[in-house]
């Protein structure tokens, strides 16, 4: 086990210690102990940067269940390291922020909070560094679990529990689909190792399982990364404490799906299905999220839909980037891998500005007591630092220079415009949709950014609507968003800081084999491209976005604008209700509590199964040759037996019923006589006599038989089922009788006939079999009788009233 394994498991170890720290070190906020870990890990991961940027990777093995091919193998490359840095870096800031956010040590159950948070952090590190798909899946589900626990942190609130359940249901069902997809990948390649799977990409593409595997894996990625139509859990996850929203639902967990798509692009990306599904769902999520965001009244809800839309943007870029596999870089230059570059760059940018914006919203909530934009306003003068940080974050999100959001948005437009020049996958005709949708979505993005910002910080201050005395936040709450906002500015002004250190190796992980050996991706990000289409698109975004914002009053009268809830929630809620009601209905229909119904189910099933088998294999046969002659005794006995049996159901007098049952028993004893079974006849006679006595005893205490009152339908069902059973048994027995003569295996009775005297010293063969050859049966049969006798004694003697201690 290498140091890297320990690093991934360290958060879990610390999670075990947290409750002790919380309990025994009460005077220090538990968060301070927790913060040391992500900070250390961040510094540790930074050390990998020079090596990774040289193009080297690290691979450490740790067998876990080698017989199943499941190993805890760790692989560090550009993509993994980028996520590792995001997780630990933002993790540090979020823990620092949470120390001040959850400042009340007595009221908040901090041990729970930090245990869940550390569990999440470790799981997330496991997801991004695992080379083994099964290990990845286990960590993936752990993130879902930790996320649900964190959403329901204030579990006494109903909305929290609803949000946690929703996110759990959606992400876990997606994860389950993903597990199925991974299994299919294993079927195709016979390995769980991602690196080996990538090496066998050509096998996978030609396999018939390719499409199902791809769809199942994408189901996992899309549910986790809140892509349409699975995005509905994210807005409801906003019931979590703000540090959680900032960490999980903007910077890290929701990017796990992005990570998976990027990681598996080399496996699936060559096909047009992948290209269309990933970019199509991405671009639709982008516009759906940005249009939904503008309808929200709650700051966190705006940010949630904004996250959805930005994730859609990154997803769309990853899809567009997969087109690079079809072009020779030497011929077309940087044209088609700009999309992947933009995706990676925007991934970093989004983590920085969205994290800071969530923290700002948390501060506003913390200091004013509300997140409703209808109550807020004019905080600019009261909270100047918060205001400044918010301004930077908002402008970056809106895509205004000189912040980093502008750069990634420009690159996004470039990539979308490049899509129109592609000559594959019908892009010549449909490609035009990409820039158009991207542009409209950006207009809405700009509009909701301005709306959110101005409603909070500009305008008139309304102290009468607020419950608290408003003042600037404590410095501890401000440091993390300030750090993130500084990064926004630094990455905006000096984007090339990131270029060769992390973006280029990340692209090399997403698009391997695109470049010839020794070549590197040409990453140069700069602000001024000259007067090109992208610039005019950005100017258009600013103009139209402002127009939408200025005309918001008119918009507000449009019906859909008033609806805050996503319409897809209706589908989700109702499908849950339908599922529950449907299963209740099915259960009630089938679990009637009536013995008769269950018996009908059983017999109908048996009749169906036997009938089907008989017809399917055509195994009915009748053998008239090998039958014994019918003796006149038997004929008489059979006629009497049939007559009594058929009459039995019509008897409605109890003595008659007992006598008829007895008669049948004695007739069978007589049949045994005819069939040359003296011991059987004897036993049957005795048993039948005792049985009649027993019946008489029991019936003495039981009520008179009534005439059965059935509806005609029931009568018919009973009749049909009974005749069915009789028919199936008759036909089976006839076939069995016919086939028994075709069977080459001889009965073993000759052995008993020959040996019962020689070996056992008895002349009555039946008795010799019972007590000598097969004595064990008899012993257990005696046991059955003993148990029955004891049971009867207990039933009659024991009178419990229900209060005894059993």
């Amino acid at each position: 086990m290498s140091l890297l394994h320990l690093v991934i498991l360290a958060p879990f170890v610390l999670a075990i210690l947290v409750p002790f720290l919380y309990k025994y070190v009460r005077q220090v906020h538990t968060g301070w102990f927790v913060m040391i870990l992500p900070l250390t890990l961040f510094i540790y991961f930074l050390q990998f940067l020079p090596m990774i940027s040289r193009g080297e990777t690290i691979y450490e093995q740790q067998p876990w269940i080698p017989s199943l091919g499941i190993n805890f193998d760790v692989y560090v490359d550009g993509l993994g390291l980028l996520f590792g840095l995001l997780i630990t870096g933002i993790g540090t800031l979020v823990v620092l922020y949470s120390i001040y956010y959850l400042y009340n040590k007595k009221k908040e159950s901090l041990h729970n909070f930090y245990v869940y948070l550390l569990m999440f952090m470790g799981a997330m590190l496991g997801v991004v560094f695992s080379d083994n798909l099964m290990t990845l899946y286990i960590f993936w589900e752990l993130t879902s679990l930790a996320s649900s626990l964190l959403i329901a942190y204030w579990f006494h609130k109903e909305r929290s529990r609803y949000g946690a359940q929703k996110s759990m249901l959606i992400t876990v069902s997606g994860g389950f689909a993903m597990l199925a997809g991974f299994s299919l990948l294993y079927v195709m390649t016979n390995t769980f190792s991602i690196r080996e799977i990538i090496a066998q990409a050509d096998v996978i593409v030609t396999s018939p399982l390719f499409i199902p595997a791809m769809l199942l894996v994408l189901a996992g990625a899309f549910t986790k990364s809140a892509q349409f139509p699975f995005h509905i859990w994210l807005p409801d996850a906003m019931e979590a404490p703000t540090p959680v929203s900032a960490y999980l639902h903007s910077a890290t967990m929701v990017k796990a799906g992005i990570y998976l798509v990027a990681r598996l692009t080399p496996v699936f990306g060559i096909t047009q299905h992948w290209f269309w599904i990933v970019s199509g769902f991405g671009i639709f999520t982008l516009i759906w999220g940005s249009v939904s965001a503008i309808r929200q009244k709650d700051l966190k809800a705006i940010l949630a839909f904004s996250t959805i839309s930005q994730l859609g943007l990154i997803m769309a870029l990853l899809g567009l980037g997969s087109a690079a596999f079809h072009y020779d870089v030497a011929v077309v230059g940087t044209l088609y891998y700009t999309a992947t570059l933009a995706a990676v760059f925007h991934l970093i940018n989004h983590a920085t500005f969205k994290g800071s914006l969530f923290m700002i919203v948390g501060i506003v909530d913390h200091e004013t007591g509300t997140r409703d934009i209808r109550k807020l306003g004019g905080l600019m003068a009261i909270m100047p630092i918060t205001f400044t940080v918010a301004l930077i974050g908002t402008l970056s999100m809106a895509g205004v220079p000189p912040f980093n959001g502008f750069l990634s948005k420009e690159m996004f437009f470039t990539a979308a415009l490049n899509a129109t020049t592609m000559d594959i996958f019908n892009m010549q005709t449909l490609g035009i949709l990409f820039p158009v949708i991207a542009w409209i979505a950006s207009i809405f993005t700009f509009a909701y950014c301005i709306l959110m910002f101005s409603r909070t910080f500009l305008g008139k201050f309304k102290p009468e609507k607020l419950e608290k005395e408003v003042h600037e936040a404590p410095i501890g709450l401000l440091i993390p968003p300030i750090v993130l906002a500084s990064l926004v500015v630094i990455f905006g002004l000096f984007p090339n800081l990131l270029a060769y250190s992390i973006i280029e190796p990340t692209m090399a992980s997403i698009l391997p084999n695109v470049l010839a050996d020794g070549e590197r991706f040409y990453v140069n990000i700069y602000h001024w491209h000259g007067f090109n289409t992208e610039l005019f698109m950005t100017i258009g975004v600013v103009i139209f976005g402002s127009l939408i914002y200025l005309n918001l009053k008119k918009w507000a009268e449009v019906n859909w604008f008033l609806r805050e809830r996503d319409p897809l929630n209706w589908v989700y809620d109702n499908s849950l209700v339908w599922t529950v009601n449907g299963s209740i209905k099915v259960t009630n229909m089938q679990m009637t509590g009536l013995l008769r119904d269950y018996f009908v189910f059983m017999t109908v099933f048996i009749i169906g199964l036997m009938g089907y088998t008989m017809i399917k294999y055509n195994i009915f046969a009748i053998d008239l040759a090998n039958v014994a002659e019918v003796s006149p005794y038997v004929l008489i006995l059979v006629i009497v037996l049939l007559a009594t049996t058929v009459l039995l159901p019509f008897i409605s007098h109890r003595i008659t019923a007992i006598v008829a049952t007895g008669v049948i028993g004695f007739l069978i004893a007589l049949l045994f006589v005819v069939f040359r079974a003296p011991d059987l006849a004897l036993t049957q006679l005795l048993v039948e006599t005792v049985m009649v006595v027993l019946f008489l005893l029991a019936f003495y205490h039981l009520p008179e038989l009534r005439k059965e009152k059935f509806t005609p339908r029931f009568k018919l069902t009973n009749l049909v089922v009974s005749i069915g059973v009789g028919l199936v048994i008759t036909l089976t027995a006839l076939s069995a009788h016919a086939f028994s003569h075709a069977n080459p295996i001889q009965p073993i009775s000759d052995y008993f006939v020959k040996n019962s005297y020689e070996l056992a010293g008895g002349k009555n063969m039946v008795n010799v079999i019972l007590v000598d050859f097969r004595g064990l049966d008899t012993m257990l049969e005696v046991l059955v009788l003993a148990i029955a006798a004891l049971g009867i004694v207990v039933l009659i003697k024991l009178r419990m009233t229900g209060k005894e201690d059993v």
Partner: protein, 112 residues
Amino acid sequence: MEILMILVIGVIFTVATYLILTKSLLRVVIGLIMYGHGAHLLFITLAGLKQGAPPLLGEEAVAYADPLPQAVVLTAIVIGFGVTAFLLVIAYRTYKVHQTDDLDQLRGSADE
């Protein structure tokens, strides 16, 4: 003779099933007894009803009836008897506790 016996057994099973599907507990018990009879007869019949001496060596006969199914059916009769006796006592106790032998009314409590 085997064909005839199989037809009779079919009728016995039909009647037994019909009795089991009724409401009265006693008819259900009789139905179960009938199932037992049907099964025993089926056992003997399928082993073959060829004429031969009873399986007693003192008979000095050329052929004997197959002794193995007889031993098995003997065991089955005794077990069937034990179960039926137990069932009758349960029926009796059920009636004493619930004051009914109608299976439609004996359908368990609602919270199950």
